[in-house]
Subunit: 532 residues, 2 copies
């Protein structure tokens, strides 16, 4: 283990040195030719960024250089693919060591066996269903399923490691996106969450509003499974200001954009998400074997096919979503491996919100809340708190206030990365930056060096976050995924994150604030003690 750690450390140091070379030395050399212009903190933007005051160390980029939001700063490398350049950057090419078998989430044989069983169970089930359907005169479109040992979703599942959901250059990911965008759907059903509710509306919980209940589980010809969230809101609509975050619509485009953002931040903690124009009659209604699901489909007065939330049956048709006449946009998020082969635990976010009209959580009133958290297991050692801070940065960028829980794979123990699932409540308001989402960062004043380096890179005009996001999202069939104001909000929010860190550094010093990640906890991976 020590040998691999040392190798890993060496790789990391090499990467950081490359970054220094690229960002500190090269710009300085270039700066000699161009004069000091590049170090001015961005003239015509209204964020009044404080000038750097010597806090940037050699290892870190200039905090705010070239961070103009209006694009007036000369972009020395304009033209060509910014996204390509980003992913070619040394920071995005730190090699992780060869994975040991126990560092992978799943073993190939185990998964294949699981897959084979699923297919044969499906075939038995279909045979029985067809007979029953013939008797009761139900017409269901039957599609052949195929057992494909090379299926992209299998490769995605096999690629999940203790470091991330996928590796940067895994060709299975673009393939999986493509499969979700176009592969034939063989079945549609409620999700397990939904089935657990059994159609009951849990009115004691504010947390589960109607929007929750319109997601569906779709199965593809090769047994890939994806969660479908239909479009509820136009791209240019902002969430009304009187709406509480916990009853906000879930947005299919937020789910898509969050996947791209997570990949650009190099977290790789969001499962792949693709947009798709789904024929809700031919691809959902006609392939479902669930009579409850059939029962919520209806034809609207305008002759469009619609379906509505199960738990609100009969009362709440105004919550329906409708095709035009059958086609409906939605997001498809790849399923993670089933809980039976890859158990996960769901842990309350220490910075959760109150989910009531008036209640306040301790973190909202106690400025020393983080000191308490730092004492508590599992936040008192290892990377867990830093991972929470990463997540808060991610959520602040998207504007998602609804992070009440997070999940981790039990196999990787307390050092496992946090899954950033369920991002559909992001991108609701481009005109507002909800600073309270950043509370973990601003209260704990710590951040992983690797995260900070990437944030600084994305604040540079050559890699401007809005530009690489725009380019990345262009690859989705439902493009444009985000309207311009949402893209520009990303740049503005990134500046605000950097300023929060800058303030921390000024107050506590860089050594306190910027944490060398990659240094692992000395304990071996262990099974987390929390129970799901």
């Amino acid at each position: 283990m020590m040998r691999r750690d040392r190798l890993f450390l060496a790789t990391t140091l090499t990467a950081i040195f490359s970054a220094d070379l690229y960002f500190i030395l090269l710009p300085k050399l270039r700066g000699m030719g161009q004069g000091s212009r590049q170090f001015c903190s961005c003239g015509p933007n209204n964020l009044t960024l404080p000038r750097q005051e010597g806090i940037a160390t050699p290892q870190l980029f200039n905090w705010t250089s070239g961070s103009s939001l209006d694009g007036t700063t000369t972009d020395p490398t304009d033209g060509g693919s910014k996204l390509g350049r980003l992913f070619a950057h040394p920071l995005y090419n730190i090699q992780t060591p060869e994975l040991e078998p126990e560092e992978r989430l799943l073993q190939a044989e185990q998964l294949m066996e699981y897959y084979r069983k699923k297919v044969s169970r499906w075939e038995r089930h279909m045979k029985l269903y067809s007979e029953a359907a013939a008797v009761s005169n139900i017409t269901v479109t039957e599609h052949e399923v195929t057992f494909d040992p090379d299926a992209s979703w299998l490769k995605f599942h096999l690629g999940i490691s203790r470091y991330a959901l996928y590796s940067r250059d895994d060709p299975a990911i673009p393939q999986l996106l493509q499969d979700m965008e176009s592969m034939k759907l063989v079945s549609a059903d409620y999700t397990q969450d939904e089935k657990a509710l059994k159609g009951a509306c849990d009115c004691t919980q504010v947390v589960k509003p109607s929007g929750h209940h319109l997601k569906l589980a779709l199965k593809m010809r090769n047994f890939a499974k994806a969660m479908f969230k239909p479009m509820r809101q136009q791209r240019d609509e902002e969430t009304p200001e009187d709406i509480f975050y916990f009853v906000d619509f879930q947005r299919h485009n937020a789910e898509i954009a969050a996947f791209h953002l997570d990949r650009i931040l190099d977290f790789r903690r969001v499962p792949p998400v693709a947009g798709r124009l789904v024929n809700i009659t031919g691809e959902v209604l006609q392939v479902t074997h669930n009579e409850d699901l059939r029962a919520v489909f209806f034809t609207s007065p305008a002759n469009n096919t619609c379906f509505f939330a199960k738990c609100l049956y009969v009362c709440k048709t105004e919550y329906a979503v409708c095709g035009s006449p059958d086609l409906l946009e939605g997001s498809l998020s790849a399923y993670l491996p089933g809980l039976s082969i890859a158990p996960r635990i769901s842990i309350p976010n220490p910075w959760t919100r109150s989910y009531t009209f008036t209640g306040r959580e301790e973190w909202e009133v106690n400025p020393f809340y983080c000191d308490t958290i730092k004492q508590l297991y599992p936040y008192n050692s290892g990377n867990r708190l830093l991972n929470i801070i990463d997540m808060s940065i991610f959520d602040f960028l998207t504007g998602n206030m609804d992070r009440h829980h997070y999940e981790i794979f039990t196999k990787f123990g307390d050092e496992g990365f946090l899954l950033h699932l369920d991002n559909a409540r992001g991108f609701g308001k481009h005109s507002q930056d909800e600073m309270s989402i950043l509370a973990p960062l601003s209260q704990c004043c710590m951040i992983k060096r690797s995260t900070l380096l990437r944030l600084q890179l994305l604040a540079q005009p050559e890699y401007r976050l809005s530009d690489v996001m725009r380019e990345s999202l262009e690859g989705d069939p439902l493009r444009p995924i985000l309207v311009e104001p949402h893209l520009l909000a990303l740049d503005r929010r990134l500046q605000k994150i950097l300023r929060v860190i800058q303030r921390c550094v000024r107050r506590l010093g860089e050594d306190e604030v910027i944490t060398e990640d990659f240094v692992k906890s000395t304990a071996r991976p262990q099974t987390a003690t929390e129970t799901r």
Copy 2:
């Protein structure tokens, strides 16, 4: 009784003669001077009105003359108040005979006694409540109530007769509107409907969606009661095409506009409605004595005061309405006398809709449905069917598809007029004319002569419906009540009504179609046999 009927008939014939003189002879004389232009059926409008083919009889106006929708026809009497001229027209000045005591809904002494009892009960109740509130530390603003024997609402109630809810020149009506617009509110509560539900959501019924549950009963200083419906939708928003009529929002401005339209049609079957900017904190929350109602108030993330539907408590805050920060527009509809002193019965509309996604009622599939209805009590004699047709014309003009029941005062028996209550689902779509609402007219092919004469009058440019409506609605404090497209839709729909009648006349002859109303059924008023 016969004497009065004869007097009434004479008055009516005089009025009709005046109308003939004004509309048939005068235009002909004028026409001689102007040439035949006036008889051309409206050049630049896209309704392709059929040219009159001699069906207009001396007693009726020209069907379509001067009915240009774009206002290009010269308006010989432009300038001044069209509404004033309309109400000065002989058709609107047919004198009803002096009312016999039994033709009034209420006797003054009876109502005064009732009022006195209410006031003293209120005072007792308030005394007890104040003591209880003091103990449990609830602060309720207490306003003095006054017993006012000259209150406008008392005069409105006393003015209800077997002919209409109010007489044309009753000064109590403008006074009541003004009182509802500005008089101090002393209490707010759920309506009786609401209380009957006891907070339960009746999910077996599609008919009662959420919108229903946001109406409140407000009491004014002089004990006037009004039903408050808050603004749910912007004036220029149209109901989305996929929304079923029975889950459509209730619109406060539709409630206001319906009162004005009903008065302009001279039906006077809608209780007075006024708009008001209500302070939902000071005028609702702080004066309510109902703890359930208090509990649905909250402060939104944008710091506005909001309240939401009781039956959806906890789950459905997205249904809330919010003030800005406290002020919220709403409609106030005057209450009718209580059921204990003026009982009403609610009768299913024979042309009701199915209120399901796929169900169809008989009238939708059977073109001879009216023949069946004509055989059935109470539609087989008297004016009941003609009253239903009046109501369908009213509803077609507003676009209200939600007329599942109608009410009548039991005191006036089967000949009583129909109350046009609950009009908030009108004015949802200006761009669509829902012809099915006119089914009673188009299937039965009959109409009261008095109604037809007024419709024809309102199709004349001098009295154009959209113009008199615009002028009438200008009197409401929440003006503009309707956006222009809704006003123009009224003219277009009026033309469609006239064409339906024209087709009936062409097919069946005028004698069959146009019914002399004012000829009463020979039976004395009797108590209706249906039970509420």
